[in-house]
C-alpha cells in the first residue's frame, strides 16, 4: 500500500508542479540513514522521484505551511496532520485556497530514531482516532470508518500517583529539559511571533535553564495548547531528552473532552473551548 501511496503522491506532485497549480510540494523523502523519512520540498517536477510515503513519515508537515507566505503549495497530510490544518485555518493563519491537500489515510507511523529500524507503532498511532484526513483535495487510500473510543489509561496511571509522587516525577523530567524549544518549533499550534518564554518585558519565564523555569515553560506550553492540541505528538518525538510531553497534552485533551465535549481541529470553523462558554455549565469551580 505504501509503495502505492508513493507512486500516487509522485504522480500528483508532478501534475501539480507541471500545470503550475502549486510552486512547491511538501512531502517526505528518505533520510541519510536510508531508513527514516524526512520532510522534502519539491519545486521541480524532475525531483518528484525523491518523494516517498512509508510508515516512518512521522513529521507533521502542516507546520511548514506557515513559512510559505501564501505561495500556492501542496502538502502531504495524514489524519492527525489534517486536524492541525483545520486548527490553523480556524485561527486564520492559513488560506485554504492556496493550499492543495494530498490526504493519505494513515496506517500509523513507527517509532522514530536516526538509524533505528522499528516496526513498533508510535503511542499516538496506537491511540489514534483520526486515521482519515478530515480535509483534502485528493484522498489516497480507503477511508477508515471505525475509529476506536478514547483511551486515557496513561493519564489515569499518572493520576493514580500521589500528588507528591507526581511532583517528583515532573521535577525529574524537567530537570533534563535543555530549553531547546524543539517541542515548540515542531508544533503546528505554536506560531506566536514572540513566544511568551522569550519575551523580555514582561519576563514570564527567566532564561535560566533550571527546574523552576523549565517547569513553568513546560506547563504553559501545554496550557497554551489546551483545546488546540491535535495530538500529532511531534513535540514528544523531537524532544532530545525524552520528556513525556504527551502526558501533559493528553491530560488536557481528556479534560477538554470531559468538560467541554470538544476535540480540537475537527473542523475549520470550530471555536476553541477557551474563547467561548456556556452560561450554565458546571465545571467544579467556585461551586
Amino acid at each position: 500500500m505504501e509503495t502505492e501511496y508513493t507512486k500516487q503522491i509522485r504522480d500528483k506532485a508532478r501534475e501539480l508542479l507541471e500545470n503550475g497549480t502549486v510552486e512547491c510540494v511538501i512531502g517526505y523523502e528518505t533520510g541519510t540513514d536510508g531508513i527514516n523519512a524526512r520532510p522534502a520540498f519539491i519545486y521541480d517536477p524532475a525531483d518528484v522521484e525523491r518523494l516517498v510515503f512509508d510508515n516512518t513519515c512521522s513529521h507533521n508537515l502542516v507546520k511548514y505551511l506557515l513559512n510559505m507566505k501564501g505561495k500556492p503549495t501542496a502538502v502531504v497530510v495524514k489524519g492527525c496532520d489534517s486536524r492541525a490544518l483545520n486548527l490553523l485555518l480556524a485561527e486564520k493563519q492559513l488560506q485554504r485556497d492556496n493550499i492543495y491537500v494530498i490526504g493519505v489515510v494513515c496506517p500509523g507511523v513507527v517509532e522514530w530514531g536516526w538509524n533505528k529500524q522499528s516496526d513498533k507503532l508510535q503511542k499516538r498511532c496506537v491511540l489514534c482516532r483520526q486515521h482519515t484526513p478530515l480535509i483534502h483535495d485528493i484522498l489516497l487510500g480507503e477511508p477508515v470508518t471505525e475509529e476506536p473510543p478514547p483511551d486515557f489509561t496513561d493519564v489515569a496511571e499518572m493520576e493514580a500517583m500521589s500528588s507528591e509522587e507526581r511532583a517528583a516525577f515532573w521535577q525529574e523530567q524537567v530537570e533534563r529539559c535543555i530549553r531547546c524549544y524543539a517541542c515548540r518549533q515542531a508544533c503546528p499550534g505554536c506560531y506566536c511571533i514572540d513566544c511568551f518564554v522569550e519575551q523580555l518585558d514582561p519576563e514570564w519565564v527567566g532564561i535560566r535553564i533550571a527546574p523552576g523555569e523549565n517547569l513553568m515553560w513546560n506547563t504553559i506550553r501545554a496550557f497554551h495548547l489546551a483545546g488546540r492540541c491535535v495530538a500529532c505528538n511531534e513535540c514528544e518525538r523531537v524532544c532530545p531528552v525524552n520528556i513525556p510531553l504527551s502526558l501533559l497534552n493528553r491530560k488536557l485533551e481528556q479534560e477538554v473532552l470531559d468538560l467541554f465535549d470538544y476535540r480540537p481541529g475537527m473542523s475549520e470553523d470550530a471555536i476553541a473551548p477557551l474563547i467561548t462558554f456556556k452560561k450554565d455549565e458546571k465545571l467544579g469551580i467556585g461551586e
Binding site: C192, I193, D194, F196, P202, I275
Partner: protein, 665 residues
C-alpha cells in the same frame, strides 16, 4: 529613574491603631525608587492632600503611592490631588491597608508586615505605571427610539422638547402600542384613547421628531455617540405625500381580514389603518392579503386559477396616492443614543387546557374585553359575547393567567392584572347594572396610589364576588359556560354558570424583543425582558453605553410607570446628547502590532465588540481596539497567547511585579 513618593495614612486610629505606621514609613524609605516617604493623620483631609502636593513639588516626585483606605473609596480623590500637583493622575497607586489590613487583623506585628508588603507591591506597580490621557470623541446629537408605544412616545416628546432630533421607529402601521387598545385606565377611569391620542398627534407634528412607521431596525453598528443603524422601511404601497387619509380606499376595499388591533373580534380591509385615531392617519396595503397583489404574484408564475384583479382602491383614490411600485427599502441613519421601548404582548391563554384552550368563543382575554368595551371597538362599546352577540349577565374573571405560574414558565407577577380586572368589574356594572361578576384570584395586589381603594370599590360598590382560589375546569353546557373552581377561604368547591369568562392574561416581552436586544448587543433575561445596568441605581441604562431601555420591555409595568421610565430614559439620552464630545476612560486594552498574529481570539471574547480589524503596511490583518468601546475588562489580554494585547493600568508587567514582590527567590 522615577522618583516615587509614599504616603502612609493613619486614618486616625483606624489604621494607626493596629499598624505601626512609622515602621511602614521607614520600610518604604528603603524600597527601590522611593525617594520620599511620610505619614498623615488623615491623608484625605485637605491638610493631608496639601502635604502630598507640597512633597511632590519639594522632592520632585513623579509617581505617588498612597497607603490608606480602599481605592474604591478615594482613588479618584487622590488622582485629583496628584493631578493638581502636576502629576498625571494615572501615576498614582493605592495600597489598601485599612479595609484589607488594619480593620481585619488584630495582631499589630502581622498587620504591620502585611502593610509593608502591600506598600511594596504598590511601589513596584506604580513604577510600571504610564501616564494616560483620556480621549475626546465626537457624537451625533440625534436619538433613535425603537417602539412607538406610550413609553417611546413619551421619550420621543421629551428628547424633542430638549431640542434634539429624534427618529421614532414603529413596526406597526401606527404608533400607540397596547395603550391604544385599552378602553379606560385604572384607577382614574379616564379614557385611554382620549389621553393618548393627543400625544400621538404631537409626535406626528413635532418638528424634531421623524416618525418611521411600518419600519424595523435590522442592524446596529458603532458605539456610544456614534451608532449607525440600518432601518427597514416596509413598502406601504401608498404615497404619503399624496394621501390625505380621506378613507375612501379602506371603505371601498372588498377584502375582509380579522383585525389584529381588535384581536380577531371584527374585521379590517386589505388597505387599512389599524384604528380610527391611528398616527400616521394614512393607510398601508397589506400585501399578503391584497387581491391585486395576489394577482401580481400569480402573474409571475401563472400557476393555478387566475385570481381577480380588483384595484378598486386605485379607482376611488382622489389623489392617485396608491403606488404599486413601492418596495421594501433599507435606509441607514446615524445616532448618538438609542432607547429601546419594544413593550409587551399578552400571554396566549390557549396553553391552558382547563380554560378551554381558546376553543370556547366566550372565553376571552382581558384585552379582548377592552376592545369590546371600547366605543371605537368592533361592537362600538356594547359588551356582546362573541358566540351569539348576547349581553352577558354572569361574568367570571380568572386572575393570573400566564402569571405567577411555573407550569407555563411564567413565575413572575404581571403587576397590572388585579387592577384592570377590578376596572373591568366596575365598568361592566356601568355598562349593565344587571351584570354579576365573579373573580377567581390568588391574592389581590393593589400596591400603588389609589389602587387599594379602587380594588375595594370593585368589591364593595359593584358587588363583584371575589373568590380566592383557582379554576379547575371550564366546559360548555347548553350555550353557557360552567366554571368549576374552589373557594379556598370557605374551603369548598364552587360551580358558576357564566355567559362570559374573562382571563386576566399576563404580560410577556414582545416577540422580537430578544432579536432586537441581540442586534444591539444588550442582555435580556430568561423571559426576554431587557436587563438594566443596575436594577436599583441604573434602571434605564444598559451595559452598553448610549443604549437605554424603558417601559414594559424591561418588565411588567403600568402606564404611569412606563411614562415615567420613558422620561427617565429620555433624560439619560439628553444628558448624553447635550455634550459636545465624549471623554473615554484611558484604562483600556491596547494591541502591539508587532506581536499580533491576527487570530482574533480577542474578538471572540470581547463582550463589547471593541475589537476591530486593521491592515498593517506589510499586509497582515491584525486586531486593534476601539478605545471608545473598550471597558477595560482585560478578557482579550488573557485570550491573547502571543501577548500582543495589554491592559493599561493592569498590565502583565504590573501584575507580575506585584507577584514578584511577594514571592520569588
Amino acid at each position: 529613574m522615577s522618583r516615587i513618593g509614599v504616603f502612609i495614612c493613619h486614618c486616625g486610629t483606624n489604621i494607626g491603631g493596629v499598624v505601626n505606621v512609622p515602621e511602614v514609613v521607614e520600610a518604604a524609605r528603603h524600597m527601590p525608587l522611593v525617594v520620599f516617604a511620610d505619614e498623615n493623620k488623615y491623608t484625605c483631609s485637605e491638610v493631608g492632600q496639601a502635604s502630598i502636593r507640597n512633597a511632590i513639588a519639594e522632592h520632585k516626585l513623579d509617581r505617588v503611592v498612597i497607603a490608606s483606605c480602599s481605592p474604591r473609596m478615594h482613588e479618584n480623590t487622590f488622582r485629583r490631588t496628584v493631578a493638581a500637583a502636576g502629576i498625571n493622575p494615572y501615576l498614582l497607586e493605592m495600597a489598601n491597608i485599612r479595609e484589607h489590613c488594619s480593620w481585619v487583623h488584630s495582631d499589630s506585628r502581622d498587620a504591620t508586615s502585611k502593610a509593608i508588603d502591600l506598600v511594596r507591591m504598590a511601589v513596584s506597580k506604580v513604577a510600571r505605571h504610564e501616564a494616560l490621557f483620556p480621549r475626546q470623541i465626537g457624537l451625533t446629537k440625534r436619538a433613535l427610539i425603537i417602539g412607538g408605544g406610550v413609553t417611546g412616545i413619551q421619550a420621543a416628546l421629551d428628547i424633542a422638547a430638549a431640542g434634539h432630533e429624534v427618529v421614532l421607529v414603529e413596526k406597526e402601521p401606527s404608533i400607540g402600542g397596547r395603550m391604544a387598545q385599552l378602553d379606560k385606565t385604572f384607577p382614574t377611569l379616564d379614557c385611554s384613547a382620549c389621553i393618548l391620542t393627543p400625544k400621538m398627534v404631537d409626535v406626528a407634528q413635532h418638528p424634531n421628531i421623524t416618525l418611521l412607521s411600518y419600519s424595523e431596525v435590522v442592524d446596529v453598528r458603532g458605539f456610544v455617540g456614534n451608532f449607525e443603524v440600518d432601518i427597514l422601511r416596509k413598502a406601504k404601497m401608498v404615497d404619503y405625500d399624496k394621501c390625505t387619509g380621506c378613507g375612501l380606499c379602506w371603505q371601498a376595499c372588498p377584502e375582509k381580514i380579522p383585525s389584529e388591533f381588535n384581536l380577531g373580534l371584527g374585521y379590517r380591509t386589505a388597505i387599512y389603518i389599524p384604528f380610527a385615531q391611528a398616527v400616521p392617519n394614512k393607510p398601508v396595503i397589506d400585501i399578503a392579503n391584497c387581491r391585486y397583489e395576489n394577482y401580481r404574484r400569480w402573474k409571475e408564475t401563472e400557476q393555478g386559477p387566475e385570481p381577480p384583479q380588483c384595484r378598486i382602491c386605485e379607482g376611488v383614490c382622489p389623489t392617485e396616492a396608491i403606488d404599486r411600485t413601492q418596495r421594501d427599502e433599507i435606509i441607514t441613519e446615524k445616532f448618538g443614543a438609542i432607547i429601546v421601548t419594544t413593550g409587551f404582548k399578552t400571554f396566549d391563554h390557549s396553553v391552558y387546557g382547563e380554560y378551554g384552550s381558546g376553543k370556547y368563543p366566550d372565553v376571552i382575554s382581558s384585552l379582548q374585553l377592552e376592545r369590546l368595551m371600547s366605543a371605537a371597538g368592533p361592537t362600538e362599546g356594547e359588551v356582546l359575547r362573541p358566540s351569539d352577540g348576547a349581553h352577558p349577565r354572569s361574568v367570571v374573571f380568572i386572575q393570573c393567567v400566564g402569571s405567577r405560574d411555573d407550569k407555563v414558565n411564567r413565575p413572575y407577577c404581571s403587576k397590572v392584572c388585579c387592577m384592570y380586572t377590578a376596572k373591568h368589574a366596575i365598568m361592566l356594572k356601568e355598562h349593565d347594572p344587571d351584570v354579576q361578576c365573579y373573580v377567581f384570584y390568588i391574592d389581590i395586589r393593589a400596591g400603588g396610589k389609589d389602587f387599594e381603594e379602587f380594588a375595594r370599590r370593585a368589591q364593595d360598590e359593584t358587588g363583584a364576588l371575589y373568590l380566592r382560589g383557582r379554576v379547575s375546569q371550564i366546559y360548555q353546557k347548553d350555550g353557557k359556560l360552567v366554571v368549576l373552581g374552589e373557594d379556598s377561604l370557605m374551603g369548598r368547591p364552587v360551580e358558576i354558570t357564566a355567559d362570559l369568562v374573562v382571563l386576566a392574561t399576563g404580560m410577556e416581552a414582545s416577540e422580537n424583543a430578544a432579536e432586537v436586544a441581540q442586534k444591539l448587543n444588550i442582555s435580556y433575561n430568561a423571559y426576554n425582558f431587557l436587563i438594566e445596568a443596575h436594577p436599583k441605581l441604573r434602571p434605564v441604562e444598559t451595559q452598553t453605553d448610549g443604549i437605554f431601555i424603558a417601559g414594559a420591555a424591561v418588565g411588567p409595568r403600568d402606564i404611569p410607570d412606563c411614562v415615567a421610565h420613558g422620561s427617565a430614559a429620555a433624560v439619560k439620552a439628553v444628558a448624553l446628547l447635550s455634550q459636545d464630545s465624549l471623554t473615554t476612560d484611558p484604562l483600556t486594552s491596547v494591541v502591539d502590532p508587532m506581536k499580533c498574529v491576527g487570530c482574533f481570539a480577542c474578538r471572540e471574547v470581547c463582550p463589547f465588540n471593541a475589537v476591530e480589524e486593521q491592515t498593517t503596511r506589510d499586509g497582515r490583518i491584525i486586531a486593534s481596539i476601539n478605545e471608545s468601546v473598550c471597558k477595560g475588562c482585560g478578557l482579550c489580554v488573557v485570550a491573547c497567547r502571543p501577548g500582543a494585547i495589554n491592559l493599561r493600568g493592569f498590565t502583565n508587567q504590573q501584575l507580575l511585579s506585584e507577584v514578584l514582590t511577594l514571592v520569588g527567590r
